[in-house]
């Protein structure tokens, strides 16, 4: 690989790559990130390779293993260009049809097209599918198009031009000013203004400074960072190099969760390729600026997403946070000024430089600029990753993009912000989604997890789930968090088991105030949020658990029972054979009955019954 010494070198390289490409060449893009791989995407690629080879078409048609397109619900997804056909749930056995009908014949394979769930009408093109129609994919523009293991793909799509502009035409102060004007706020949870953070870090005394990317995506239900690291690693690197130049750092670190092996692999490849081109290392683009970036794998501790804990972990210690009397921008990693941003925040930087801060700031609301990637999961039809402009309503996200609630059930709430977030009830879903509106509702933006809950979700159980999660993940250093969470979990478990007391709600509220006031770091400080927000909006459910001993959602085991609807049961005996307690009896082809006394409510019969004859009451 030839080193890129100047902006003109990069330009020449890009033109060279594009010149070699035939614009009419057919390209098959197969999403090969975690979710689609789980569905067998790599086997689809193999089948494509073999099929094209057998037909002697290997040279004419290109196969690209891309990053995530966000429509994980329908994976593995395959896109065929230039026709822009979008195929869903592709299996290796579908490959012969894709080759013969589409790639050779030019016609779509009808059965693989997206079908509108209501009208059953087939939709051929990606941008006509409602899931994609309302999105604004800027940060995600290249993810799903490029092969993340090929730096040339990134460069061909205009990658590293922002770096050129920044390093050769802008002074560090100008870059920081641009980031300030853009209004970019941290995408990892806190929502702190990025430009302000950089300015403080630049001004902090000290010769040695660090840039750090937080890829320790610990929030359950959020996976946009994984998707970015897997699908467009260079955009993160480009943002980090620009940031390091602006701050005056010569060393960078990317902290990645241990659960994300593909992200580590792709980032490693990206760093090696960028270094080979001279975009990392010494004298980047002939500017005299040096930077090296290293990857550190996390050890599976949620608290390491907290900045001071993460820095401790980078130093090879246990990930315990410290009190932030002195900010990490002044004294962070190895007590040196450190600018730590979420990977999604870093990926926004090239956009700001390329488009100009003012244009970037045109998207969004007064206090929240740009777009945000949300992971839309739970009881929604179209689960996946969606990138939308700040200020869009929750209704648009859940109904227009998400396609509404599964199985025609009713929306109960949307939980945002991970374990420290809150639940927004269905009555408030017309509120705009931005940092400040969510906060006013008692929720937070967090890293962008959006968990849709329906009538079968018990809100007390949800609170217990998050508190249990945080109790387990609390590092144990400070008492309010360690003991507070334990007591909260004890109280919530009692309520869910049917031992709730009248004063429990008040006690939970009081504990919450103590914890948020006295905890050392944000984990404990925000931990009461799921409890407070569920009490605020769903107090009636708490009361039903405590006073009526009933869980209407059918989740809390002691507070409901299973029964078989005699009119629906056809006596297939599957449930009685599989019941671990032998609690189901009945003659073949006759309605069965459940012995409530012996039933342990394990749910085996409930999930096995094809006729949905097993019911909850």
């Amino acid at each position: 690989m030839k080193r890129i010494e100047s902006p003109s070198d990069l330009q020449a390289l890009r033109e060279g790559i594009l010149f070699k490409r035939d614009p009419d060449q057919k390209v098959v893009r197969v999403c090969c990130t975690t979710a689609c791989r789980a569905g067998g995407a790599l086997h689809v690629v193999e089948a494509l390779r073999k099929g094209l080879g057998d037909r002697g078409l290997s040279d004419k048609i290109q196969i690209k293993k891309t990053g995530c397109r966000g429509f994980c619900e329908n994976g593995p997804v395959v896109a065929v260009e230039p026709e822009q056909l979008f195929y869903n749930k592709v299996k290796p056995r579908d490959v012969p049809d894709i080759i013969d009908k589409t790639l050779v014949g030019g016609d779509p394979v009808e059965r693989l097209l997206y079908a509108d769930p209501d009208t059953k009408e087939k939709i051929a093109k990606e941008h006509d599918i409602p899931f994609f129609g309302k999105q604004a994919r800027h940060v995600f523009a290249k993810t799903g198009r490029i092969d993340p293991t090929q730096i040339d793909d990134y460069i061909a799509e205009g990658g590293y031009t922002a770096l050129c502009t920044a390093l050769t035409t802008m002074a560090p102060g100008q870059i920081i000013r641009a980031v300030e004007v853009s209004g970019l706020r941290g995408r990892g949870g806190g929502g702190f203004p990025t430009g302000k953070k950089w300015r403080t870090c630049r001004q902090a005394p000290g010769m040695v400074k660090y840039v750090i990317a937080n890829g320790d995506e610990g929030d359950p239900g959020a996976f946009m960072d994984r998707s970015l690291m897997e699908g467009d690693p260079h955009s993160i690197l480009e943002g980090m190099i620009i940031g390091a130049y602006a701050i005056g750092a010569h060393e960078g670190f990317i902290y990645v969760r241990d659960e994300y092996p593909i992200a580590v692999e792709h980032l490693t490849i990206a760093i090696d390729q960028a270094a080979a081109y001279g975009l990392l290392g010494f004298n980047i683009l002939g500017s005299g600026f040096d930077l090296t970036i290293r990857i550190n794998r996390g050890g599976g501790a949620f608290v390491c997403g907290e900045s001071t804990a993460l820095m401790n972990s980078l130093e090879g210690k246990v990930g315990e946070p410290r009190a932030k009397y002195v900010h990490t921008v002044e004294s962070g990693l190895w007590n040196r000024p450190s600018a730590l941003n979420n990977v999604e925040t870093w990926a926004n930087i090239p956009l700001i430089i390329n488009r100009g801060a003012e244009r970037y700031a045109q998207i969004g609301t007064a206090g929240s600029k740009g777009t945000k990637i949300f992971s839309l999961v739970g009881k929604v039809r179209n689960t996946g990753l969606v990138e939308v402009p700040m200020g869009i309503s929750l209704r648009e996200i859940v109904y227009d993009i998400g396609g509404g609630i599964r199985k025609g059930k009713r929306l109960k709430a949307v939980q945002t912000g991970g374990p420290s977030g809150g639940c927004i009830p269905s009555g408030k879903i017309d509120m705009p989604v931005d940092y400040d509106s969510l906060k006013a509702l008692g929720a937070i933006m967090g890293s962008g997890g959006m968990i849709v809950m329906d009538e079968n979700t018990c809100m007390v159980d949800v609170a217990k789930y998050f508190i249990g999660f945080l109790m387990y993940e609390s590092c144990g250093k400070c008492v309010p968090c360690r003991e507070g969470l334990k007591q909260m979990h004890h109280i919530l478990s009692g309520i869910c088991e049917g031992h709730g007391k009248a004063e429990d709600i008040e006690l939970l509220t009081r504990l919450s105030v103590t914890m948020s006031d006295a905890s050392l770091c944000a984990l404990g400080g925000t931990a009461p949020n799921p409890v407070l927000s569920t009490i605020r909006y769903f107090r009636d459910e708490y009361e039903a658990h405590i006073f009526d001993r009933r869980c209407r959602a059918g989740v809390c085991r002691n507070l409901f029972e299973y029964y078989i609807d005699e009119t629906l049961c056809n006596g297939c005996t599957v449930c009685s054979m599989k019941c671990p307690e032998g609690a189901i009896s009945g003659e073949k082809k006759q309605p069965h009955t459940i012995d409530v006394g012996r039933c342990i409510r394990c749910g085996v019969c409930y999930t096995l019954c094809k006729r949905e004859a097993v019911r909850v009451r």
Partner: protein, 167 residues
């Protein structure tokens, strides 16, 4: 320390050298060591402590703090049940209980025949497939208590070794 002893830790030495014996790389070093045998053997940790000149207590502090480390041998197949929010809402807890009942072990334990270790994870980031369970490298989506037996039988029965992902 004799030559024989050094032979046993040859791979560990390679790992330590690969990280330049840096103390700040301890987490990465332990992760790589764990990859050798699926757990962190005690004598290896003592060896690492001596080689790096890091107190053994600090190594144990790390090995017990981070969830991905195991100090006890693990089974041939590692089952990871995702307990992320999306999986929880879709019944992950019931799946976990069903696996515990089927294998007669609790979360964090290994079966007597060293066949399966049962673990839980916070979120695998594949929420669209919820509820998810992973056995070694194979993902199983939309798991229900009723499907548990079938999934596990693939690893104990005659079909083991067949390509499971190819649908």
């Amino acid at each position: 320390m004799g030559d024989e002893h050094n032979m046993a830790f040859e791979k560990v030495d390679e790992i330590l050298a690969g990280y330049g014996y840096r103390h700040d790389a301890l987490i990465g070093i332990l992760q790589d060591i764990q990859r050798l045998d699926n757990y962190l053997p005690q004598d290896t940790l003592v060896y690492v402590s001596r080689k790096l000149e890091v107190p053994l207590s600090r190594i144990y502090h790390i090995a017990t703090f981070y969830k991905s480390f195991s100090l006890v041998p693990r089974g041939r197949h590692i089952i990871k049940v995702c307990l992320g929010t999306a999986c929880h809402l879709n019944g992950a807890a019931q799946n976990l209980e069903q696996i515990e009942r089927t294998l007669n072990i609790r979360e964090g334990q290994t079966t007597g025949d060293m066949m399966f270790s049962l673990e839980t994870v916070n979120c695998l980031g594949t929420c669209a497939l919820a509820p998810v369970a992973v056995v070694d490298d194979s993902y199983f989506e939309g798991v229900t208590p009723g499907k548990v037996e079938k999934i596990l039988s693939q690893y104990t029965g005659a079909s083991e070794g067949l390509d499971r992902e190819a649908d």
